[in-house]
């Protein structure tokens, strides 16, 4: 079984290596990552809406609380509600050698600065013949939370279709911290998608009783972009999933274990580049692949992984590649409707079951 050394072996469900316990939420881990990187490198700064106003929110999800006091409002820069200016400022500053962390509150609002991301950030290095780089890190909260069609999208897949960008989706505090630090040090633009219900700032209830903390060591570490994590070993089927859906897959895996189905659950962590090596090694073992995400089905990142598998591992497969994703509709707000759209543990379970019967 090929997976990156030193990680999968000692994993607990939260995903962190064992060691003296220091459990943080994702929000805390991200805050720590930003603070460490700002401390280490004075080129790093934050820029966005409601990020540093005294008495304010510390960003839409409270992640930045305390940072303005520590680093000053010159490096935690509040902006007008102007996504193009925010993203444009980040691109321009990055071109000049800075390491901006722009913030537009919800991933849904990235559509207001697509030109800056797709036409500028992603292409500047190439257009310049490799002379310039755009080391920015855009953090993008995704995921439904009964806020309707314009505040719950998971648009990460769009960006996997943009050469020049990198796209990561950490799902626990350990990897969120480690990969964010890698992203800040990366010379290319990185979009970091985080799931709102996993921040942990509101407690477990919001995420359906999940423990949203994970062990985060005191000592500094990086987690590389492009490396997947095997969250659970199994031999019956390979399950690749991110964010809240990952936890639903893990729950499904536990329940299915009683039925004799042993899922190998993989958190890809990075979508672009994706660690297909780890995933294919698992598929070689299990002969079955199910991909699950909260982003909508058609054209989602699961399609790319399925396509690659169908090209490179067709003959390893004993059954069709199955995807479980949000249905191809905008997000409704009524809880009963919302739950019908996004992948539930039940739906995942029944898909895995039917896949293992094939």
């Amino acid at each position: 079984m090929t997976h990156p050394a030193g990680h999968a072996a000692t994993l607990e469900p939260g995903g962190a290596p064992s060691g003296p316990e220091r459990r943080l939420t994702i929000a805390e881990a991200i805050r720590e990552a930003i603070a460490e990187e700002m401390e280490r490198d004075d080129r790093v700064f934050l820029i966005g809406e409601d990020v540093g106003i005294p008495g304010g929110f510390g960003g839409a999800f409270g992640v930045y609380l305390g940072l303005p006091e520590r680093f000053g409002r010159d490096r935690i820069i509040d902006t007008p509600i102007s996504e193009k200016a925010i993203a444009g400022a980040a691109v321009g500053a990055a071109l000049m050698g800075m390491r901006p962390i722009p913030d537009v509150q919800y991933a849904d609002f990235l559509f207001e600065c697509m030109d800056e991301l797709v036409n500028q950030a992603a292409k500047m290095r190439y257009m310049s013949g490799g002379k310039l780089s755009v080391p920015l890190v855009m953090r993008c909260p995704v995921g439904t939370s009964n806020r309707g069609a314009q505040h719950g999208q998971c648009p990460e897949s769009f960006f996997t279709h943009v050469p020049g960008l990198k796209v990561v989706c950490p799902s626990d505090a350990y990897h969120a911290k480690g990969i964010l630090k890698s992203a800040v040090r990366d010379d290319d633009p990185v979009l970091v998608f985080e799931h709102k219900l996993l921040y942990g700032s509101k407690g477990r209830e919001q995420a359906g009783g999940l423990d949203l903390t994970a062990h985060v060591p005191e000592e500094e570490y990086l987690f590389p972009i492009g490396q997947a994590v095997v969250k659970r070993s199994g031999t019956s089927v390979t399950v690749v999933a991110t964010h809240l859906t990952l936890y639903r897959c893990l729950a499904a895996a536990e329940e299915l274990s009683a039925e004799g189905i042993e899922c190998e659950v993989i958190d890809p962590v990075s979508l672009l580049p994706m660690d297909t090596e780890t995933i294919f090694a698992s598929v070689d073992k299990t002969s079955r692949l199910l991909i699950a995400h909260e982003d909508t089905l058609t054209g989602g990142w699961g399609a790319e992984l399925a396509a690659r598998t169908a090209e490179e591992r067709l003959f390893s497969l004993a059954a069709p590649i199955r995807r479980v994703a949000a249905h191809d509709v905008p997000l409704p707000v009524a809880p009963v409707l919302e739950q019908a759209v996004v992948p539930s543990t039940e739906r995942i379970k029944s898909e895995i079951r039917s896949l293992c019967e094939l």
Partner: protein, 335 residues
């Protein structure tokens, strides 16, 4: 600061209509907040208490077949434009009987029958879309006018600029109503713009603009009436900046740490309902009893709406998969 509202020339009927409009929104919002705290409503809320005079004054100056666009803070606009209280309340509950069938929710209240596009929760999102409403009315010479509500924070978005400029150039029948409540979420406007009055931005588009006391329903109504007439006459859009204040936090759970209690107090002294009520009774346009009776009526309407919403069925889960397209399409077959 708290100049009395000029109710001269206001008929008793019209006065009570406006007063009722204000009270309906205030009571609705206060009740909704309680229901939210009790866990009856999903998601989040952006409430409208304090700004009622803007929605009511504006919509009262519009024709029923005029249309509005709204924002993440649409409850007041919806009620003022004629979305039924039942339909709005049921939508907040996410019920099948909601004005959007439970698919829209708090941030997307709307109803074609009332002339309200589902509220657009993207800041300034309505500012580009509203031009199409105006264009349609102009192309078909319907005499209708479109009104775009937006906050002062929205005026820093590209959509504000492109929408207003396009409307100006095309002389579209549109009224742009900016509710300047001084904050975009936690951020005070003065940190995001070197001009204090949004109205001062209109000159860049050759558009006339007017600052109006947004806590004075009569003043708002008058300004919009003039702007509507201008729009309907084919003379193009007007920008109205209503200076106002939201009494509540930006969204539920906002402790308002970014503004002072003194400032809040000052603005509460200009409460658009208290002030209008006082003006009416002082001028003798209405008496205390009439106002109280009206409040009682509103309370019943509200009780009924809550009852209706509570007793309404949840949407059928299968409904989640309808309405993305006029006729279902087969790729992305939903399973």
């Amino acid at each position: 600061m708290t100049r009395p509202i000029d109710v001269g020339g206001l008929s008793g009927e019209k006065a009570l209509r406006l007063y009722r409009g204000l009270v309906r929104i205030r009571r609705f919002e206060d009740r909704v907040y309680q229901l939210f705290l009790r866990g009856e409503l999903p998601g989040t809320l952006h409430q409208y208490q304090g700004q009622e005079a803007v929605a009511v004054g504006t919509c009262d100056a519009l024709r029923p077949d005029d249309w509005i666009t709204s924002t993440h803070r649409p409850h007041g606009h919806a009620l003022a434009k004629g979305v039924s209280m039942r339909g709005a309340m049921a939508e907040l509950y996410g019920k099948a009987t909601g004005c959007c069938g439970g698919k829209g929710g708090s941030m997307h209240l709307g109803d074609p029958d009332a002339g309200m596009v589902p509220a657009i929760a993207i800041v300034a999102g309505g500012n580009s879309v509203v031009t199409g409403l105006g264009l349609a009315f102009k192309l078909r010479s319907t005499g209708q006018v479109a009104t775009c509500f937006f906050g002062e924070g929205a005026t820093n978005e590209g959509a504000f600029h492109e929408g207003l400029n396009f409307a100006a150039v095309q002389k579209l029948p549109i009224v742009f109503v900016c509710e300047n409540n001084m904050y975009g979420a936690s951020t005070p406007f003065h940190l995001t713009s070197l001009v204090t009055d949004v109205a001062d931005r209109a000159a860049a588009y050759g558009v006339p603009a007017q600052v109006v006391d947004g806590m004075d329903v009569v003043a708002v109504r008058a300004a919009v009436e003039t702007a509507r007439a201008r729009a309907a006459a084919g003379d193009g859009p007007t920008l109205i900046e209503a200076k106002t204040y939201r009494f509540a936090g930006h969204s539920r759970g906002d402790a308002r740490g970014y503004r002072s209690r003194d400032e809040e107090k000052e603005w509460k002294e200009r409460d658009p309902i208290d002030r209008f009520g006082l003006a009416l009774t002082t001028a003798g346009t209405a008496d205390e009893a009439a106002l109280a009776a009206l409040v009682a009526e509103v309370t019943s309407e509200l009780d009924d709406a809550v009852e209706f919403a509570r007793n309404s069925p949840d949407p059928d889960a299968a409904e989640a998969l309808t309405d993305a397209y006029a006729t279902p399409i087969t790729i992305g077959a939903l399973r």
